[in-house]
């Protein structure tokens, strides 16, 4: 698990391929591939070029504002930030355990978020790659292309996501940036009418979620070798699990497995995450590189997210998803599954689990009556909240002064945990598919497909019109622009040769 191809031995004299930014992932990312004169990849890196400054955004604010404001960090998983912050401030207030009603409503909100996010990723962001192939026509390879060629698939994706969004609206009070969870509990229960409106759609959602797992399985069966080998590399896996080893996406203890599937760490209390993890800064990326403290940077990096969670748990506590988990594990033929594309299959198993959990929660009377807040609080200085967000483990860590202002905070988002893994995926694919060949859009998309498997949220960048072109440039060793390919909403794919660029070397 070293760092082959992270840094070229002799970067001078290599030409550079830049993919900037990576399309269909959140925010700005840039891939640089340094090629030698024989088109062999000598260096491959996924750069994160925007510094977000999340912590500075939060520090100095009253703690009770934070669960609402952190939702503005991310347009894709605001609920995960909302709940992770709320869990952390439960600890600061000494308000744990929260009430049964608070836990039921928060869990419902969280699994609704998991459903809508996984549906968006599979049907909107990845199914174009999966259904059309990685080198297919770029105009076809997006959600619109899917809707045209597979209208039933696209419609299921939209309606699954809509159902998840409706759960979020009902539990948080608003469609966007609601306030359902508060430090110490929640601020509203569900009405019977709200619960019944959700229950009405459940049978259809359950069927579509099952269909989605079947689609993912079919894709693996149809192209078994590709799905086993594309962007595959060995790594440790980390996630929360319930104390009894079950999958739990809302709460639990940290567990790490090594690449062979052996449990390295288990039962790690969320408040002690810093005993397990440390973060490393590398000069060429704004995003940190977390790793297991005791194993060090070269052996201690790990993957999080669906691939890790489905294999890290001992079982999934819902019947349909558990059947699918067993089939997934069997596909590994006695080994852990390390293929990046298997994230998609694991993601759909989790989506099915989310619908099953939602169904069970909607039968829980605690959603409709009970205390909103716990009692007998004993105030603490520090609190950590960890949740399994759609993309993986999300950590919020706050230090709150006696004046109720946040003095310090540390956020480790899922994509940061997967930083090293995404770099490994880029290297793996670049080495296999790009070396010794001319660069084409289809080939470059292989790199992007590998990154997209992790559903990264590279930054919570603004999405003002016209901001995010894709720029691919080939530079000769002497800096001459050999080729330049740009993608944009307005003009699609355009190629310019011998144009100045202004990319950093």
């Amino acid at each position: 698990m070293g760092f082959e191809l992270e840094t070229a031995a002799n970067p001078q004299g290599l030409r550079r391929v830049a993919i900037d930014p990576v399309s269909r992932v959140e925010g700005h990312g840039k891939v640089t591939l340094l090629l030698d004169e024989n088109n062999q990849v000598q260096q491959a890196r996924l750069h994160i070029v925007e510094f977000r400054g999340f912590e500075k955004f939060i520090e100095g604010r009253p703690y009770w504002e934070v669960p609402v404001m952190v939702q503005r960090l991310c347009g894709i998983c605001p609920v995960s930030h909302h709940l992770a912050a709320s869990k952390a401030f439960d600890r600061v207030l000494g308000a744990t355990p929260i009430t049964a009603s608070a836990e039921a409503v928060r869990r419902l909100m969280h699994y609704g978020q998991m459903l809508q996010s996984h549906a968006l990723h599979f049907f909107h962001l990845s199914s174009p790659d999966l259904l059309f192939g990685f080198s297919s026509d770029v105009a076809q390879r997006n959600i619109v292309g899917v809707a045209t060629a597979h209208p039933e698939v696209a419609k299921k994706g939209i309606l699954l996501r809509k159902f998840g969004q409706e759960i979020i609206r009902i539990t948080s009070g608003k469609r966007v940036h609601g306030t359902g969870a508060v430090p110490g509990g929640i601020n509203k229960l569900l009405t019977g009418q709200e619960r019944d409106s959700l229950k009405q759609d459940l049978p259809q959602m359950l069927q579509w979620a099952q269909d989605s797992v079947d689609i993912a399985k079919q894709l693996h069966a149809q192209s078994d070798a590709v799905y086993r080998n594309f962007g595959s590399f060995r790594s440790n896996l980390m996630s929360l699990v319930r104390a009894d080893g079950a999958m739990d996406l809302y709460d639990g203890v940290l567990r790490v497995r090594d690449a062979n599937g052996h449990i390295l760490f288990d039962g790690v209390d969320d408040q002690s995450y810093l005993d397990l993890i440390e973060e490393e800064v590398r000069a060429w990326s704004y995003m940190k590189f977390p790793h297991l403290r005791s194993l060090g940077r070269e052996q201690g990096w790990y993957r999080v997210g669906p691939l890790a969670r489905v294999q890290n748990c001992d079982f999934i506590p819902s019947p349909l998803a558990e059947i699918e988990r067993k089939e997934f594990v069997a596909w590994g033929q006695g080994e852990l599954v390390h293929a990046s594309l298997a994230y998609h299959w694991a993601r759909m198993i989790e989506m099915l689990h989310a619908v099953e959990v939602i169904a069970a929660l909607l039968d829980d009377p605690a959603l409709l009556s009970g205390d909103l807040l716990s009692k007998d609080w004993v105030r603490q200085r520090r609190g950590v909240g960890i949740i399994e967000a759609p993309r993986g483990t999300l950590i919020h860590d706050y230090d709150v002064g006696e004046d109720d202002l946040v003095k310090h905070c540390n956020l480790i988002v899922s994509t940061t945990h997967n930083n090293q893994a995404m770099n490994e995926a880029v290297r793996s694919v670049a080495k296999e598919y790009l070396s010794g060949q001319e660069i084409t859009e289809g080939l470059l998309n292989h790199v992007e497909v590998a990154i997209r498997a992790y559903d990264p949220c590279l930054s919570c960048a603004t999405h003002a019109l016209g901001q995010m072109p894709l720029d691919v440039t080939l530079l000769a060793a002497d800096g001459t622009v050999l080729d330049r390919v740009q993608k944009s909403r307005e003009f699609g794919l355009t190629r310019q040769i011998n144009t100045p660029i202004g990319l950093e070397e």
Binding site: N142, K155, R161, R489
Partner: protein
């Protein structure tokens, strides 16, 4: 028979990202300023990003006004008709207005409603920053434009 208002105003952006807030602030401002007699003819919606499920919000409308901050448009604003189009929507997890209209057409098997994209010029998009002074003036211009736009189509609807 649908009881939805015929006009939808849909703005998007991040309230904590400086001038990226122009879209949702336009929606809030227009809702506040619009004359009472026009309020019932319009539904207002704001979101963080344009997403696939917004295609469902377009159903049953005659006119759509999309509103977003822009770094490319002329100051203070530009408005143009948008039509369903297969574009790359390389903005990651978010769709363009054109692609959203295309999703609508593919889903519904019908032409998308008439749609206009109002781009409000912004300049500062830093996390935690308030709306800039210049964007504030662009917002005011946009609101005046928006009231006229709605008056025109609401009147058309009543004829």
């Amino acid at each position: 028979m649908s009881t939805k208002p015929a006009i939808l105003v849909l703005g998007w952006g991040n309230l904590s990202r400086g001038d990226d807030a122009l879209g949702p602030m336009f929606v809030a401002g227009l809702q506040e300023r619009l004359p009472r007699e026009l309020q019932t003819e319009v539904e207002f919606l704001d979101d963080y990003q344009l997403q696939i499920e917004h295609a469902i919000d377009l159903v049953g409308r005659s006119h759509i006004l999309f509103v977003d901050a822009s770094l490319d448009c002329a100051a203070p604003l530009e408005a143009r008709a948008v039509r369903a189009r297969r574009d790359a929507s390389y903005t990651s997890h978010a769709l363009s207005a054109e692609a959203l209209l295309q999703v609508y057409e593919d889903m519904q098997g019908d032409h998308a409603p008439d749609a206009t994209l109002l781009a409000l010029r912004g300049q500062e998009f830093g996390l935690g920053e308030p709306l800039s002074q210049v964007a504030h003036s662009h917002l005011q211009a946009g609101l005046e434009w928006g009231i006229q736009w709605i008056s025109k189509f609401a009147a058309t609807g009543r004829q």
